[in-house]
């Protein structure tokens, strides 16, 4: 079932948590709401679930059906909380059965059906053996799987997960998110999960919604948002990045003492810009080629792990730069701390800072 959010606003006191947010989530997709804390991602999720009521105006549609005025218990959403929110006084079995047991008598399944449904859900989350345990006897990862089974028991139209892996340790988190991805491929329920971890969002989801300051900054597949970030915020948020103060003029960019081609600015007047390069998109060479490279000083190298990491310092202004190289290239170069090398950005992403356009007139 698709979800459409239209012009939703939410305010906590004087804090604008959601600022005219509109968003379309296609049926059957697994979508990540990604953003720093305070970006409004959890608020948006809770508004969709009916746990938070937005300001008047706007609408929330589940498959073209307005649900904004419906309370949480009428929306048929499955909600999974960061801290599981399991019922401590109930066994695992009773936790999963809860949503079925509270259904009105007319539509409530029989005892036998409830028992069968719970057993099959416990099998789905691979915890059949724990039916008679209590939540406190389970590990964090197990509890979150039970919370998921409990949410799925009522056959929700959409599944909403609020930082579902946030309370788990690193290894369990990775296992569980891959497991969630496989589960989603099996059951294909429209799912939205909130995360502040870009790696998690990029790895698991079909589509990433990047949020900041109560607004949606960009929506796209993981490849789109990573490779074609719409703005500096998205670029920054999705992974490590080096940034340079730059000047663009008529198809050329002047960055830290180097002159590089910038075809997207062809025919534009001189302007201040910010350039972004990811650490693995920089080539290190020993010889400068006609000013097309940025001179830098090697400060430290770290060859542990599948990729080598090199910390450098720009000679021009002493700013730090991080470069990631393949092992082969790293061993071939034999870099030593203190030596001077030249950096060639393979992919430089420039964002013109229009507010600070240089006063200098164009010289075309």
């Amino acid at each position: 079932m698709s979800i459409s959010v239209r012009n939703i606003n939410k305010r906590f006191g004087s804090f604008q948590a959601l600022n005219d947010v509109s968003l379309d989530i296609p049926s059957g997709e697994l979508v990540a709401l990604l953003g720093p804390s305070g970006s409004g991602k959890t608020t948006l999720l809770r508004v969709i679930a009916g746990l938070e009521s937005p300001l008047p105006g706007g609408s929330i549609l589940f498959q073209d059906e307005e649900v904004k005025e419906r309370s949480a218990h009428d929306r048929q959403v499955g909600f999974v909380f960061q801290h599981y929110a399991l019922f401590h006084h109930m066994s695992v079995f009773e936790n999963v059965a809860f949503g079925l047991r509270v259904q009105p008598r007319g539509i409530r399944p029989s005892r036998k059906e409830i028992s069968d449904r719970v057993r099959s859900l416990l099998a789905l989350v691979q915890l059949e053996a724990f039916a008679n345990h209590y939540p406190r006897q389970l590990s964090g990862g197990q509890r979150q799987r039970i919370a998921l089974a409990r949410a799925l028991a009522v056959e929700p139209t959409v599944l909403l997960l609020d930082e579902p892996f946030g309370a788990l340790d690193a290894k369990v988190r990775i296992e569980l998110r891959r497991w969630l991805r496989r589960l989603h491929d099996e059951i294909h329920i429209t799912s939205v999960f909130v995360t502040h971890d870009q790696e998690e969002a990029l790895e698991v989801s079909d589509r990433v919604v990047v949020m900041n300051h109560g607004r949606v900054e960009q929506v796209g597949t993981p490849e789109e948002v990573y490779n074609h970030p719409a703005n500096p915020f998205v670029y920054h948020f999705l992974g490590a990045v080096n940034h340079f103060a730059a000047r663009v003029e008529n198809g050329r960019a002047f960055v830290a003492g180097a002159e590089l081609p910038a075809p997207e600015f062809a025919g534009r007047a001189a302007a201040a810009a910010v350039g972004y390069v990811r650490p693995h998109e920089i080539e290190i060479i020993r010889q400068s080629g006609e000013g097309a490279a940025i001179p830098a000083l090697v400060r430290m190298t770290n060859g542990a792990g599948p990729m080598a990491r090199i910390d450098l310092e720009r000679i021009e202004d002493g700013e730090a730069i991080e470069v990631v190289l393949s092992r082969e290239r790293f061993e071939e170069l034999e870099l030593r701390a203190g030596e001077t090398v030249y950096l060639v950005p393979r992919r430089l992403r420039l964002f013109a800072d229009d507010a600070q356009s240089l006063a200098q007139p164009a010289t075309v």
Binding site: H73, A85, Y134
Partner: protein, 285 residues
């Protein structure tokens, strides 16, 4: 060998040493303050022959007093459990102006001399009192009946329930209620299936404390009860009047029965608490 093994069983290494000293102190203190007087009580009773003892405690006047004391205490503790829960709920859940003041007022029955509360209640509920004058025409007489005793016991028992339930309600995760709602539970279902079971142990504690306190209450009750033998005479009063007549064996015999019955009651409530808490304690240890 055996001793060494025992030590390992219940003495875990901890940052703060002093298990031996504190346990010793606890046992000594409890013996001095609690056990010694109770021993004396039992000793005094042993002056009586068994048949004399039975005769005293099965006298119709004594049985009536027991029935009244336990009956009114049960009723008052039950009422307190319901309304104490509501008071605690309001104090925990809703920030309203003057909440701290109301919160402090809950403790007043703790602090007030019980005789003062007794006299105050009597003044309210007698035939021409502020409340009594409206109830009397309806045929409801509170002062000098068992209803009056219940009123007094409700007053002094309320803080026990509120103070027992408050922390449990504060610890209740709002998320559990949200989870219940998102699973389709209506508010009443969330309350009955999620909130109530979660605070049940605390409610039982509050009930037990209010009940125990009510059983022993003397000061506030004697003013409003009227103290008619067979009708509105509570056990503590019976004990005092026996003492005033220098009938020490009679007083101690009644007291001993009172003590044993209360003990059984509290043991039962404790068992119930253990039973409701059992699940959540699993896995923690």
């Amino acid at each position: 060998m055996k001793v060494g093994h025992m030590k390992i069983a219940f003495r875990r290494p901890s940052v703060l040493p002093g298990f031996g000293v504190t346990l010793g102190f606890t046992l000594f203190y409890l013996s001095l303050i609690v056990l010694l007087p109770l021993m004396a009580l039992a000793m005094r009773t042993s002056d009586l022959t068994w048949s004399a003892f039975v005769e005293i405690v099965t006298a119709p006047r004594v049985v009536a007093a027991f029935r009244l004391s336990f009956g009114t205490s049960l009723v008052a503790a039950t009422i307190n459990t319901v309304f104490g829960f509501i008071v605690a709920w309001v104090l925990v859940r809703y920030p309203f102006p003057g909440r701290r003041l109301v919160d402090a007022m809950v403790d007043l029955p703790f602090a007030m001399p019980t005789a003062v509360s007794g006299i105050a209640l009597t003044t309210l509920f007698v035939g021409n009192g502020w409340i009594g004058r409206w109830l009397e025409p309806l045929g409801i007489q509170v002062a000098f009946t068992w209803l009056g005793i219940v009123m007094a016991l409700i007053l002094i028992g309320l803080p026990f329930v509120v103070r027992a339930v408050q922390p449990a309600l504060e610890d209740l995760e709002i998320e559990m209620e949200e989870a219940a709602a998102s699973l389709g539970a209506r508010r009443s279902q969330t309350f009955v299936r999620v909130i109530l079971p979660s605070v049940a142990p605390a409610l039982l504690t509050g009930f037990a404390m209010a009940f125990a306190r009510s059983l022993g209450e003397y000061g506030s009750v004697i003013f409003i009860a009227g103290n008619l033998p067979m009708k509105t005479e509570i056990v503590p009063l019976l004990i005092v009047s026996n003492l005033e007549q220098y009938n020490y064996p009679g007083a101690t015999a009644i007291a001993l029965v009172m003590l044993l019955t209360s003990f059984v009651f509290l043991l039962f409530i404790n068992g119930l608490q253990w039973w409701t808490r059992r699940h959540r304690m699993k896995g923690i240890s």
